[in-house]
Symmetry: C2
Subunit: 119 residues, 2 copies
Amino acid sequence: MAFDPQSLHYDDKGLLPVVAQDHASGEVLMVAWMNAEAVARTVSTRKVTYWSRSRQAFWVKGESSGHVQRLVDFRVDCDRDCLLVLVEQTGPACHTNRRTCFYTAVRDDDEIELMQPEA
Amino acid sequence: MAFDPQSLHYDDKGLLPVVAQDHASGEVLMVAWMNAEAVARTVSTRKVTYWSRSRQAFWVKGESSGHVQRLVDFRVDCDRDCLLVLVEQTGPACHTNRRTCFYTAVRDDDEIELMQPEA
């Protein structure tokens, strides 16, 4: 079946959440948001492109930092309201310069920092 | 630092997205939503508990299907507006009886079904 970005189910702001996972390590790197046009650009350019809610603008991941995400595989969930992108990540995914945004664990009711920013 | 569910950043409906990942295989299983009380229940009971947006009720994953998610590790992202739960998944995670909700890939502009429902 031909894929149509308009066939996905976006929220009342026209967005859906996107999970980015490292295709090789399986590490979950980040969650960000796409609108239909960001979905179309991601699939056609293979450069993962989000919609920045804070800047209200397209966000080609890594365009300024160089920490780009090359699309390896694009997945849609059963409800068509969430995406999973498997990516080849250049450099750290997180704006704090850590490999993943999920660097804080909650263990025994305490917050633990699992990794440091990369040099 | 002591973890406080109220310290997370919820959206205008009081919810945040939660990625569930199989702790052993690394497979991303599903994305669902939690409010602050669901976060507190998940951390204290170790049974992953979402907020069902369709039913507007707490949703102890697997309570009716038996396909429970035991919490192995709980992660907070850099912006504190998204969670990652590493889980031990009993049975398929998806309501379609597939292992993961992300069973549809988009390749060469076509949708491809990657797996069948489990028997």
